[in-house]
Symmetry: C2
Subunit: 553 residues, 2 copies
Amino acid sequence: MSKKVVIVGGVAGGASTAARLRRLDEQAEIILFERDGYISFANCGLPYYIGETIVERSNLILQTPQMMLDRFNIDARLHSEVVSIDSAQKKVTVKSADRGVYEETYDVLVLSPGAKPFVPPIAGVGSDKIFTVRNIPDADRIKAVVDNMAHKKEGTEAVVIGGGFIGVEMAENLVERGIAVTLVEAAPHILPPFDDDMVTLAEKELADHGVRVIAGDGVQGFAEIPDRDEIEVALQSGARLKAGMVILAIGVKPDVDFLKGSGLQFGPRGHIVVNDRMQTNLDSVYAVGDAIQVVDFVNGSETAIPLAGPANKQGRIAADNICGIDSRFRGSQGTSIIKIFGLTGAVTGNNERTLRRLGMAYRVVHVHPNSHASYYPGATPITLKVLFDERGKVLGAQAFGYDGVDKRIDVIATVIRMGGTIDDLKELELSYAPPYSSAKDPVNMAGFLAENVLAGRADLFVSSDIDGMDREKAVLLDVRTDLEYENGHIPGAIHLPLDELRPRLGELDPSKAYWVYCKVGFRGYLAERILKQRGFKARNLSGGYASYEIAHY
Amino acid sequence: MSKKVVIVGGVAGGASTAARLRRLDEQAEIILFERDGYISFANCGLPYYIGETIVERSNLILQTPQMMLDRFNIDARLHSEVVSIDSAQKKVTVKSADRGVYEETYDVLVLSPGAKPFVPPIAGVGSDKIFTVRNIPDADRIKAVVDNMAHKKEGTEAVVIGGGFIGVEMAENLVERGIAVTLVEAAPHILPPFDDDMVTLAEKELADHGVRVIAGDGVQGFAEIPDRDEIEVALQSGARLKAGMVILAIGVKPDVDFLKGSGLQFGPRGHIVVNDRMQTNLDSVYAVGDAIQVVDFVNGSETAIPLAGPANKQGRIAADNICGIDSRFRGSQGTSIIKIFGLTGAVTGNNERTLRRLGMAYRVVHVHPNSHASYYPGATPITLKVLFDERGKVLGAQAFGYDGVDKRIDVIATVIRMGGTIDDLKELELSYAPPYSSAKDPVNMAGFLAENVLAGRADLFVSSDIDGMDREKAVLLDVRTDLEYENGHIPGAIHLPLDELRPRLGELDPSKAYWVYCKVGFRGYLAERILKQRGFKARNLSGGYASYEIAHY
Ligand SMILES: Cc1cc2nc3c(=O)[nH]c(=O)nc-3n(C[C@H](O)[C@H](O)[C@H](O)COP(=O)(O)OP(=O)(O)OC[C@H]3O[C@@H](n4cnc5c(N)ncnc54)[C@H](O)[C@@H]3O)c2cc1C
Ligand SMILES: Cc1cc2nc3c(=O)[nH]c(=O)nc-3n(C[C@H](O)[C@H](O)[C@H](O)COP(=O)(O)OP(=O)(O)OC[C@H]3O[C@@H](n4cnc5c(N)ncnc54)[C@H](O)[C@@H]3O)c2cc1C
Ligand SMILES: CC(C)(COP(=O)(O)OP(=O)(O)OC[C@H]1O[C@@H](n2cnc3c(N)ncnc32)[C@H](O)[C@@H]1OP(=O)(O)O)[C@@H](O)C(=O)NCCC(=O)NCCS
Ligand SMILES: CC(C)(COP(=O)(O)OP(=O)(O)OC[C@H]1O[C@@H](n2cnc3c(N)ncnc32)[C@H](O)[C@@H]1OP(=O)(O)O)[C@@H](O)C(=O)NCCC(=O)NCCS
């Protein structure tokens, strides 16, 4: 007998489940319920449609119910909200635009309702000048306002609340449309997957393109301004911003209200709990996507990672298990990437913040190698930070740059996925010709440096250590050239260029510890090696003056 | 007591060994002998200097002897050819421009003499119109001729003999200088690391940019044309080409003549035999780089892979071992990459040719996914081929495309390095935002398909299987749209669009096997799944009509 599978939510997780299910089981009856007017659309493309990088609205829609029927024999029902599930009776209740309220039975139920924008219960939040970005109707609404702004005299500015990925993408795309944007972030910095000593590169790129970034200040309330087509945003600091529109993007929460009372087990932050086969605690009920809780692949703790890659893969895994194939989801590592004007930022695995919170010991290296051979035109530096433990296991990486960032983070993501160590980073045989990389790829470089750290050959300090240094016992030593030193150096640093270090060693005091730095860390490392082998105490600034400047932006 | 290390060859392997040695041992005496007038130069940049993409000649030179002295306290001696080594006495004999012939003793000897262009003993090969490309003087000579060609009336064409990486790079760069180029390759196709069903993409790109590619025809001899500034190239087919210059790039062989009679052990093709610590059979003698034999990381056989990445890494490993650090070289997997005008080709691991030669069983998949989300502007297809064994172990991959090729091959190279399987390809969590990739990255896609193959869900055939199909028992079925079919299809194929397949199944003959194809393989796979589950025999063309066209270019 063919089975009847009911799927709630028709986009990333839901549509993926449905398509794979059909391929595995031509006989199954598959019904897809979607509350909205669209299935299978490109959520991730919405900001770029508003920004008009994506010009054709139709390009956002990958599959329609008709296509799903013709190709996959799937019954996709739009404007059909599942309002409750009954796992004892194996049925769902549906509130539909055309058929009213009805019940549908199932043999297997798959939940992929996703996550909805978090809207804080603060004054004025209901204003129609405040928008969230989740689906095509949201994008249509925002785009209509933006299209109109060009013709307006007042209210031509926008405030984006929240400096996460969606907030930053929205800021960029509004700027692309000529709108003046202020980005407000309550935390000290935007883009929480990145550490503070990296993310200023993103903040600088935003500022360089005219975005006013206000970090460390939260929103307190909103008030429409009488007789003006504007809204006022009150910040906790007391500052007041005026804007024609506000984008609220302070995070998402699982869209699971309809599941309350169903007997489903939820995690501490309201996510559906599943096992590695995407099975919930209820018989024949699976869940995937942004609404579920997953295992952090690196540290093993429970977390939630609302990203399309995992959602798509989880859908495929759920379908497999429904059809008796033993597929497992082994956790998410949070690999993600963002374009910020010309800059790319990408991250994989855990950052320092997470590792510290969990009390996990880690070591860190910073490098700034070129995206490809420096003698071939167009090379630009990649700022790469790699975190690893005492046994060399790679825990995470973050990178910013103008070219080749995605490649390096994907390579490190692969190493992490395979449980690799810094020795693997070092040994990887990556493709090299001058337009693409260097004979020692940036990933290899990070591996070499990390190996030196663990072997005790390189003793690194980071920018934030400088505040705590005992200037009686330790001396900051700048080993760059005269010109570099004159153009700016760390306060209190003395100066002795690397290439003069050996002959001028007599000028140094063997009773002091030398905290060496250069531009990116390479010459500092050479100086450290010379000093240590000549009987001095020495350490080297990780990532050099370049990393110091990033951390002090 | 500090040790005295003598290094032969001052470029990729030699200079890397020297630099790492100094970092590990500040006291060692390090002498670097270089036959030529340059150490530490960018071999890989030479074609681009000739093509004037790299404008400044000085950019090709990374380190001079003076820099090596100031920074690393290394004694680098130019124009100093080591003419013999005596491992019993631990000394080398040097023929130098300034000091004549002298001996230098060593505690440790490191050989990094590299490989030299193979010059076949054929008629006329000594002509001064024939050039090889190895070092800066070679590049200077070629560039002088090229610079002059612009002013010439005759002899303004070039013939490049050899379609390996250097030959193709030279062809491209000569075209960039406005020269008409014919590329001659004796094998049926150029670029031997790629299989025949992929490499035509490179041949097409060359042709599209005006390079005349003559494959399957070898050079027989050369003759200078009297009274003209030209040389005639006679091919084995009898064809004759005229040119102002000939670039001979038919491969390299180890530059080890000076080591004959030294007692050093050589491999079957004349490479120095070393263990995984880069030690030769002679006491205290190490060897690295293009001159050595290495283990093929994938199949374990002995091979030689003349690439800069391995040479640099081997130099570092040799230095480690000289200083008592237990570093090992675990073999080369031949990851390499080439820019051909706008196209990128990259490869890692073994190709079909190698696997067949070794009698290793393998499976293959071809996919053509977009470089990034298709709804975001600028996406272009990547043609990706992945080879794996019955247990899923990834053996090799090849890709061509206009964007994102290097990333995908590097990710797969990483999986291979870590001993990974197609399940790893499938599960990798790679960075996704619309400008960079898709929620299912091309690498994931190849993994899904490979999994289906091994699970027996997808039964693939390749273009070359079509010739041998029994048309009585099997029917070629094109499931693309009417328009696609009319614009060109495989001879003899019948046509039934995928979206009409279910209702029109009655038109098919259950006694036949259906060999299905679509454009890239996806719809063919869907058709295969439907057919099989409805009681038909079916298989699907790997990579679809796109791969068929590539194989039949
Ligand atoms: C603006 C934006 C940009 C993004 N950019 C990226 C990016 O660059 N990279 C990335 O990896 N991820 C990105 N994401 C996240 C990604 O889109 C999600 O991770 C992914 O879509 C989650 O899939 P899902 O199936 O869980 O939920 P969704 O794709 O949100 O689908 C859930 C669907 O279920 C429907 N639904 C909910 N409840 C019910 C109900 N009771 N009955 C019927 N239907 C219901 C909803 O209407 C919705 O259509 C972005 C998201 C947004 C909003
Ligand atoms: C045109 C060109 C393009 C290339 N492009 C790429 C690329 O894109 N990617 C890539 O990975 N690889 C590329 N390579 C290959 C790469 O350059 C080599 O793999 C690498 O340089 C090998 O290093 P090595 O130290 O073994 O030899 P080399 O770098 O060749 O150095 C050997 C040196 O030893 C000297 N020498 C030899 N014998 C003696 C002696 N008896 N006494 C003293 N000195 C001696 C030689 O003069 C030479 O300078 C390219 C090579 C060429 C020629
Ligand atoms: C498009 C969507 C319906 C999924 O459909 P899908 O049929 O799984 O399509 P995909 O394009 O991902 O193709 C994957 C399948 O094709 C197969 N395939 C891909 N290329 C192939 C080829 N060249 N030859 C053979 N098979 C191929 C894969 O093996 C896989 O099949 P499997 O899962 O049975 O192994 C769903 O992902 C969706 O709705 N996406 C839009 C929403 C979304 O993801 N939003 C967030 C990102 S913006
Ligand atoms: C340049 C050359 C002399 C090597 O010198 P090198 O000192 O090893 O230089 P690299 O730039 O490769 O730097 C690598 C070292 O710097 C360290 N390093 C790099 N960036 C660092 C940073 N930011 N902080 C600290 N250390 C850093 C690495 O750990 C490594 O040191 P280790 O080997 O002791 O671990 C040699 O590779 C060469 O001659 N190259 C040109 C020829 C060539 O390769 N041709 C073929 C390709 S065109």
